[in-house]
Amino acid sequence: MRKVFFAALLLAGSAAFGQSVIPNDPGVKPLVAIRNATIVPVTSAPIPNGTIVFGNGVITAVGANVAVPANATVIDGTGLFVYPGMIDASSSVGLTEIDSVPGTVDTTELGDFNANASAAVAINPHSELIPVTRVNGVTNIVTVPEGGIISGQSALIQLAGWTPQEMVIKSPAAMNIRFPRLRSGDFGDVPQDEEAEKNRRKTYAAEIDKLRDVFRDAQAYARAASARASNKDVHRFDRDLILEALVPVVEGREPVVMHANLARDIRAALAFADEFNLKVILSGAQDVAEVIPDLKQRNIPVLLGPTLALPQREDDPYDLLFTNAKTLLDNGILFAIKTDEAHNTRNLPYHAAACAAFGLPKDEALKAITIYPARIFGVADRLGSLEVGKIANVIITDGDPLELRTNVKRVFINGEDISMQSRHTLLYDKFRNRPRTQ
């Protein structure tokens, strides 16, 4: 089927192929001016009837009274809106194609301690998921390894490029730890008898001990490496790729995304992080409202979500996951909203909107999927808002991108004019034009 589809495309005479089989104009970074649009820079007030200019992949001017360069391609934005591309703080786009076909899935390495596994090396720039995601305005994602206890290194990427290297903005973006859990939170997870309970506790303690061992080794390794770097007389030692990957983590140069949801697990993860002076980003965090002081005291940002998901316990408030964002805002804790999705990472804005329906101001919901994730991952100098000097990841819409009915009309990544086609639009066009034979 796939072959037939591909052949049909070739027959249709598409000349250039960018991502996937989608025609595009990659590498070309035109000088573009969008005029008469409502510009929403995110980090400052919306500009009605504004202009934004970008060229060579970078934003060069934003404002109400901006001169349009004579050689710019001008887009009339009358009645339209311009936003920065949205950023999903946790996704697996690029690492998976069809979930049930293991040969197409590269999210989860074997074993518990895969600090050296790097998402950046396994990204498929030609995945069908990439165009599907970006045509709804999501231009960047943090793509995250899964499984085990130390899952590996995530990468913050652009959703456009010929090679993984062209796509990567920052790698590693963070080390990912799925902190050991006593319970998964599901009702079915409660051990059936005392013996099972005892065993579970034993495994849990053993997992944390093992993690602690790995980190102690990493600290020792870091000290040894640094000693040898400054003094060649220090005894040579064999390299260990797992410990080597943890050196920037134990030296506090690379953040750790701690995946934990229940209050007990979050506290245990934070205590562990204290022990090793880790720079923590908390992820998941369903019980975040119960650990506010713990987070404030350590100045820890949070990746919330998916918000369109079920609370873990039967007696949780039905709206728990919708209200957490407001709680964090009220307490001055920096947060981003994420999907943990792959195929529907495109629905990122609706995960943010769900929080806005339950008290989060709309502009904060937008920030949680633009500038806040950029800040959390240390790329706010390049991404997350429409400001001069930033990478031109720009989307044009006919309304609020958090609204379900809003259409994304144009997408620019790196200032490149991205095709609005995807596997989905191509199949749509093919079958809406199916001849009536009956």
Binding site: M1, R2, E97, I98, D99, S100, V101, E128, L129, L308, A309, L310, E314, D315, P317, Y318, D319, A342, H343, N344, R346, N347, P349, Y350, A353, A354, A356, A357, F358, K362, L402, E403, L404, R405, T406, N407, R423, H424, T425, L427, Y428, F431, R432, R434, R436, Q438
Partner: protein, 439 residues
């Protein structure tokens, strides 16, 4: 006599308890008769008694001022596995059409309450898709707080779940070690299971016809042995049971439609039907409806060609389409899936709203009592804080059969009380444990 008195007393008390509620100043999305700005809905007992612009509150009515808010009929989910106790799949046989969801429904699944908080009030509760013919489904209202015996809708049709493609061919169900895989292993085998079931059912019917004819003629006859599975299959052929069939790929959809022509049964709703857009004219020509996800795709090979435009393409081909959930989570915001059909394929607001209200009601043959806000219909509806096609909308109050089964203010108050109660109980347990230890 005593019995009669009891009945009268019951009737009186029922009458005395008849709730009357007036929702005022709301935008009423009637679905079948347009939108009424500044409108009112009068609920009397379990039914909608009046809908209009200026309705006076009858004496004793509870009046709800819904200024700035929207009233939508209760959302109907034609693909639910909520409120099932234990496993959803019988698995053991290719055709387990004699098992019944009605036997395993539970009234305490918290997801029912969560769905009411999302405006969903009724569902078709189905088996899983491990078997080509899974079992008898059950149409229910989410009558939270009522005994499970009150959940099935009395005049709802009998329904049965079929499944095609990857799941029944057991690609996704690895048998325990040492046990062989279960037939069928291909889409050929799936067709064969369904074909054989109906061929057998025809023979079964013929045997009974023969017997009945002999009896009628006054001849001696031995009745055929009753077979509960064949009874069910025969009832499908008699048109007494609606088929709701899980399917993905266009070829398997056509297989089922062709088989239905050949063997004389009808398919009511194609479930999932993610490639329905490829064969929408054929589906429409068979008078079959479709319930689908708006944007799920790529989770398995047969979902790789799923596109969010499926809903619009099928709708434009005159297929009655609903968006349904197959998920405790998605069932909480089917309005949002409906809304996406405007962006993916350009359905109008009205068309989008129908996807989760009157269309599923039609698919379940319950549009005479559900799916729109009309006088005489069941008072299943919800009051929304914004237009339900907005991502910022949430539900304030949900009614099922005229009764408030979810109310946000009540929920907010209750959760404080529940929190206190939980703490007290945990403390009591803790104290008891300490006491036990100190002994």
């Amino acid at each position: 006599m005593r019995k009669l008195v009891a009945v009268l007393l019951f009737a009186c008390s029922a009458f005395a308890q008849e709730r009357v509620t007036l929702i005022r100043n709301a935008t009423i999305l009637t679905i079948t008769n347009g939108t009424i700005e500044n409108g009112s809905v009068l609920i009397r007992g379990t039914k909608i008694a009046a809908v209009g612009r200026d309705l006076a509150a009858p004496a004793g009515a509870q009046v709800i001022d819904a200024s700035g808010k929207f009233v939508l009929p209760g959302i109907i989910d034609t693909h639910s596995h909520t409120a099932i106790e234990g496993s959803v799949n019988e698995i053991s046989l290719p055709n387990s059409g004699n098992v019944r969801i009605a036997d395993v429904l539970t009234a305490t699944d918290i997801n029912v309450y969560r769905q009411l908080a999302g405006g969903t009030t009724a569902a078709l509760v189905l088996h899983g898709s491990a078997n080509s013919i899974g079992g008898q489904s059950q149409i229910v209202k989410w009558k939270w707080g009522h005994p499970i015996s009150e959940w099935p809708i009395p005049d709802a049709p009998r329904t049965i779940k079929f499944a095609l493609g990857e799941n029944p061919k057991s690609a996704n169900f690895r048998p325990p070690e040492g046990q062989p895989r279960q037939y069928p292993a291909t889409r050929m085998g799936v067709e064969e299971v369904i074909r054989k079931s109906f061929v057998d059912a025809r023979d079964y019917l013929a045997a009974w016809d023969e017997y009945d004819a002999k009896k009628k003629r006054g001849e001696d006859a031995i009745p055929p042995r009753r077979d509960l599975l064949m009874e069910e299959m025969a009832d499908i052929l008699r048109g007494k049971v609606d088929i709701h069939s899980h399917c993905y790929r266009a070829d398997e959809i056509l297989m089922l439609l062709n088989l239905s022509d050949e063997l004389g049964f009808k398919v009511r709703e194609l479930q999932h039907v993610l490639e329905g857009y490829k064969v929408a004219p054929e589906i429409a020509a068979h008078g079959v409806t479709g319930g689908t996800f708006i944007d799920w795709w790529g989770y398995k090979a047969e979902a790789y060609d799923a596109i969010p435009y499926n809903v619009a393409l099928m709708t434009r081909n005159n297929v009655i389409v609903s968006v349904n959930s197959d998920s405790d989570e998605l069932a909480r915001h089917l309005n949002q899936d409906a809304a996406k059909s405007m962006k993916y394929g350009g359905l109008s607001e009205d068309e989008a709203l129908r996807l989760c209200t009157i269309n599923p009601a039609k698919q379940l043959r319950l549009d005479h009592r559900m799916g729109s806000i009309e006088v005489g219909k069941d008072a299943d509806l919800a009051i929304w804080t914004a237009h339900p096609l907005s991502s910022y909308a949430r539900v304030d109050t949900t009614f099922v059969d005229g009764e408030i089964v979810f109310d946000r203010q009540r929920d907010l108050q209750q959760r404080e009380a529940m929190k206190r109660e939980k703490q007290q109980r945990l403390k009591a347990e803790d104290d008891a444990a300490k006491k036990e230890k100190s002994k």
